[in-house]
Subunit: 310 residues, 4 copies
C-alpha cells in the first residue's frame, strides 16, 4: 500500500506515548491507533518533527513507527524522515518502507532561503531516498522559517513524480490552496493531495478552498474527521458549528512549545493514551494551565459530549 | 496627562485610514476616535509598526498622531516611535509629546539576540528619548524575532523608571504574565501595566492571569472592552461566552500580512472608517476571502448584534 | 550628473565624522571628501546603513549628504535611502536628488524571503522614488539575511530601467559576478555596474571576475583605487602584492560591529578625520585592540608608506 | 585518555575523505591522520557539523570516527555529536567513547535565542550524555545564529564540570577571549581550554589574547601548528609573518559553502587525501576558482615551500 496523490480525509499526527519513567509506552500506541481507526481516520502520520521523534534514537524511532504500522494494517502510514543529511534520511526512509510505511514526509532544513535552494533540496532528497518512495512536502514556515511560494511547490511537484502530497501549514495559507487548485484546474499542475496542519486553526475554510483533509495532531482527531466529512458532504453550517465549538480549545493547544503538553494532557484525560508524560526536554503544564484546560473542556462538553471527561 | 503604570482597560491599536487614492483620511480618524471613546476605551495607541505607520513620511506621521490626540482629549494616547536609530526615535518622541501624547511605545530591532543586547537597547533608547517620557515595551517575538524572558523584562523595568507598561504579545505568553505578577507580589518587581496584543488571541485567559487589559487592533474594540469589563467584574462565563463568539472572526483576522486587510474591511463594513484602502504595498482580499468574512460576520451576528452589518 | 550603468572605479563608503561630543564634524567631511577626490575616487557613497546614518535624524541626514555633495562637485554621489517604508524612502530620495545626488542605494528589509518578495520589493521601491532616479541594489546577505540569486538580480534589473548598479557584497560571491557577466555576454542581461563591498575582502579576485571596482569603507581607500587601477591595467601581480600587504589589516577591520571603530580609528590616525568619535550606541576599542592596530599598521608600513602614521 | 581542560595546541578538524564514487576513503583517513600526527597536532576533531558528517548515516559515522581514533592512538580525538535530539546524541556519544574518543563536541540547535535557553540546553545535553564524558562547547554564531555572551559561557562552564573546552569561533571574538581569561585570572571562572575555529581567520591575535591553540580545518594544519608554536614561544613577528603569508589563501578557503571544496582541493593537491570528492549535495569548484587557487598556492610557495605543489 503506497501513498497516492488521491489521498483524502484525516491523517492524525500521532504523538509518541511515553511511560512516566521515559520508556516508550507501546500499549498506548496500540490504544491510540485503535482510536484513530475507530473514529474514521483514513491514514496516520508518525515521527513528525513537531512531536517527540527527535527524542528517540534510531532504533527506537523504527520500533515506534513499526508498532503503529502493524496495529493499523488497513491504514496508509506516513513516516517523518527529516534528517540533517541525506544518508540518514535514506536509511530511515528505507527502513520505514520495509516496515510497511506507505510514504515518507520531508521537512526543509531551516537554512534554506532562495527558491532554487528549496527546489534543489527536494530534488536531492527525492534522489537520496529513491524515486519509488512516495513523499510529502511539509510546508510549515512558522516552524522552519522556510517560505515556499505556490510557484516553488509547483516546481517541486513537477520535478519529482514521487511527490504525492503537500502537508500545508503555511499561515496565512488560504490563498495558497486556492492558487494550487486553480493551477490544477487550468492544467498547469498535476493533482497532489493537500492535507492541512498548523494545528487545524483554519481547517474550516481550508476544506472549502480545496484541501483534501487534515494532517494535524489536535487532541480530538474525531472532530477533525467530522469536520472534513461535513465539508465534503456540503454541510457547511454543521462543519463550522462543530469547528467553532472546538476552536477555543484548539487555539489553546496551538501554543508553540507548550502545545504538545496540552495535547497529551487532553489525550490522557480522554483515555487515548495512558499518560501525558514527555521525555526531556519537556515543557510541563502549570496548575493554572491545567485548570484552564478543564474549564475549556467543560465548556466544550456543552456542545460535544466527547469532551465530557470529568 | 502622562501614561502611568496603573493604566488599565483597552487601548485600541488604531489603523491609519486612507482615501482610495492614498491620501490620509482625516475624517475617518475623527470618526474612529469617536467610536473608541464611545465604546469605553481607556486610551489609544497610534503609529504601531504593525499598522501602516511605516508608509507615512515623517510629517504625515506627526499629523496623524496629532489628529488622534486632539480628537480624544480625555484619553491618554501612546505613539509608536520605533525607528532604525535613536536620533529619529528621539525626534519623533519629542514631537509626539509636544503634540500631547501620553507616552511612547518602543519595539526592539530584530537584530537583537542576547539578554544583554535587549536590556542595553532599552536603556539606550530610554536615555535617547529622555527620562521624562513614559514608555512601553513591545514584546512581540512572532513579529520581531526578539525573545524576552521574564527576567529580561524585569531588568528593563528595574533599569528604567520611565518604563510603565508592557505590550505583551508573546506566544505562548500566559506563564509569562503569571511570572511577572508573582514577582510583583513577592516584591521583586515594581508594578507596570500589562496590556495584551497578538490580535487578542488569548485575551480571555490573559486577563485571568493578571493582565490589565488589551492593546490590539481587532475590528471589534467594543468586544475587547466588554471582555475586559466582564473579567474585571469576575463574570468569567460572560467574558468567555462573548470572546468565544468572536473567536472565529478574531482568528481569521490574525493572519500575518493579510490581517490588516481583514481588519480594515470589517471596520469599513461596520462604518468605523470610510474605506478599507491601504497604501502600497498592500495585501488585498480575494473574492473568496471577502465572502468568508461575510459568512463569519453573519454567524457572529447570531450572538452579537454589533456584527449585523448586512 | 546622474549615476550610470557604466560607472567604474572606487566609490568609498564615507563614514559620518563626529565631534567627541556627538555633533557632526562638518570640517572633517570636507577634509575626507578632499582626500577621496585627491586619491582618485570616481564617486562617493554616503548615508550607508552600515555606517552611522541611522544615528542621524532626518534633517541631519540631509545636511550630511549635502555637505559631501557640495564639496565634491566633480564626483557622482550615491545616497543611501533605505527606510522602513516607501514614504520615508521617497522623501529622502527626492531631497537627496534635489541636493545634487547622482543616485540612491536601496537595501532590502530583512523580512524578505522568497524570490518574488525580493523582486516585488524593488519594483515597489523604484515606483515609490520615481523612474527618473537611478538606484543601486545593495546585495549584502551577511548583514540583511536576504539572499538574492543571480536570477533574482536579473529580474530586478530587467524590471527596472532605473537600476544601474549592484553593490555586490555576497559572500561567497565570485561565481555570482561571473554568472552576471556571462549572462551579459550572452545578451540575456543588460550591463549594470558592479562595485564590490563586504569590506573589500575579495576585491583582488572580484575585479578579475568582472566587477567594475569597489564600494566599501576600508580605511585606505587609496589602496582600493590602486588595486582597481592595477587590475584594469592587467598588472595582476602588482594588484595582489598591494592587496595582500593590506589584507591583515583589512581583515581586522572586517569585524561586524567592531569594524567601524577600527575604521574610524585608523582614519583618524591617518588624519583623514579629526576624531574617531561615534554616536551612541557605539562599540569602542579596548587597549589591546588599539595596540593590535598599531602593530598591523607598523607591519603594513614596511610595504606601503601610507601606513607609516607613527 | 580523556579530554582535559589543560588541552593545548592544534586539533585539526578532519574532513571526511570520499572516493569519487561516494564511498568512504579509509586509506585517505589513515594518510591524513599520519600527516596530522607527523606535523605536530596535539589532537584531532572528527564528525564536525561543518564537514560532511551529516552526509554519513549512523553506522558510517561511527566507522569513520573509529578509523581516525585507531590510527592515532597517541592523540585525543574529539567527536562531534550534535544531533536533533538528546537520544541520538547520547547514543552517538556513548558509541564514540566506547570506540576510544577522548571527548565530544556539541553545537547548539539554531532555534535557541535567550541566555536561559542556551544554558538549559547544555545542561540537558550534559545530563543526556552523562557527566563522565568531557564535552566541548561549539560557539559559532555565524553558522548557528546562536549568540553566546561571555556570561552565558561562564554559566555553562560553572553548571557542568564535564565541560572542558570552548571551540571559539565567534566573530568578532577577540574581546570574548580576553574577558574569559580575565575572569579566570580573577578567580570567577575555572580554566577551560579555548581552541579557535572560524577557519583560523584571527588565529594570529587569538593566541595573543589567551587562546590555547586552534581547532579548524584549514588545508595547511602544519601552518596552524607553527603559528601556535611561535606564539607560545613569544616569537610574535615570526608567527605573524607565517600567518600573513597564508592569509590570502586562508581567506579564500573561508567562504561559506564553497570553503570545503577549496579545502579538499588543496588537500588533494598536497597529497594529504587521494581525492577532493564530496558526497552530494556538494558545491564544486569552477575552472576559474581552481585557477585562482593555483595562483594563490604559487604566491604562497614563495614564502612557504610546503605550498609548492605544482
Amino acid at each position: 500500500m503506497l501513498l497516492e496523490a488521491s489521498a483524502k480525509g484525516v491523517y492524525p499526527i500521532a504523538p509518541t506515548p511515553f511511560e512516566p519513567d521515559g520508556r516508550i509506552d507501546f500499549n498506548s500506541i496500540d490504544r491510540l491507533t485503535d482510536f484513530y481507526v475507530g473514529c474514521g481516520s483514513t491514514g496516520m502520520t508518525v515521527l513528525g518533527v513537531m512531536g517527540e521523534a527527535p527524542k528517540l534514537d534510531g532504533l527506537e524511532a523504527l520500533e515506534v513507527a513499526t508498532r503503529f504500522i502493524k496495529r493499523a494494517p488497513s491504514l496508509p502510514v506516513i513516516v517523518g524522515v527529516s534528517a540533517p543529511g541525506f544518508a540518514a534520511m535514506r536509511s530511515l526512509a528505507h527502513a520505514a518502507m520495509d516496515a510497511g510505511a506507505a510514504g515518507v514526509m520531508i521537512a526543509p532544513p531551516n537554512t534554506l532561503r532562495t527558491d532554487d535552494q528549496i527546489v534543489t533540496y527536494y530534488r536531492q532528497a527525492a534522489e537520496a531516498i529513491g524515486a519509488d518512495i512516495p513523499f510529502v512536502i511539509q510546508d510549515y514556515p512558522l516552524n522552519f522559517t522556510v517560505v515556499m511560494t505556490p510557484g516553488v511547490l509547483r516546481r517541486i511537484i513537477a520535478d519529482n513524480p514521487s511527490c504525492v502530497m503537500v502537508k500545508h501549514e503555511d499561515w496565512p495559507g488560504l490563498e495558497k490552496i486556492s492558487t494550487l487548485r486553480k493551477w490544477e484546474a487550468e492544467g498547469s499542475l498535476r493533482h497532489v493531495s493537500i492535507l492541512c496542519g498548523n494545528g487545524g486553526l483554519f481547517l474550516d475554510f481550508e476544506t472549502e478552498r480545496g484541501a483534501d483533509g487534515a494532517m494535524t495532531g489536535y487532541a480530538f482527531p474525531d472532530m477533525l474527521v467530522d469536520v472534513v466529512r461535513h465539508a465534503e458532504a456540503g454541510e457547511r453550517d454543521e462543519a463550522h458549528d462543530l469547528f467553532d465549538a472546538h476552536l477555543p480549545l484548539l487555539r489553546y493547544e496551538q501554543q508553540q512549545g507548550v502545545g504538545l503538553a496540552v495535547r497529551k494532557h487532553v489525550m490522557a484525560r480522554r483515555g487515548l493514551i495512558a499518560s501525558d508524560a514527555q521525555r526531556a526536554p519537556a515543557g510541563g503544564l502549570s496548575v493554572a494551565a491545567k485548570a484552564e484546560i478543564e474549564y475549556l473542556l467543560a465548556r466544550l462538553a456543552r456542545h460535544d459530549k466527547r469532551a465530557a471527561v470529568a
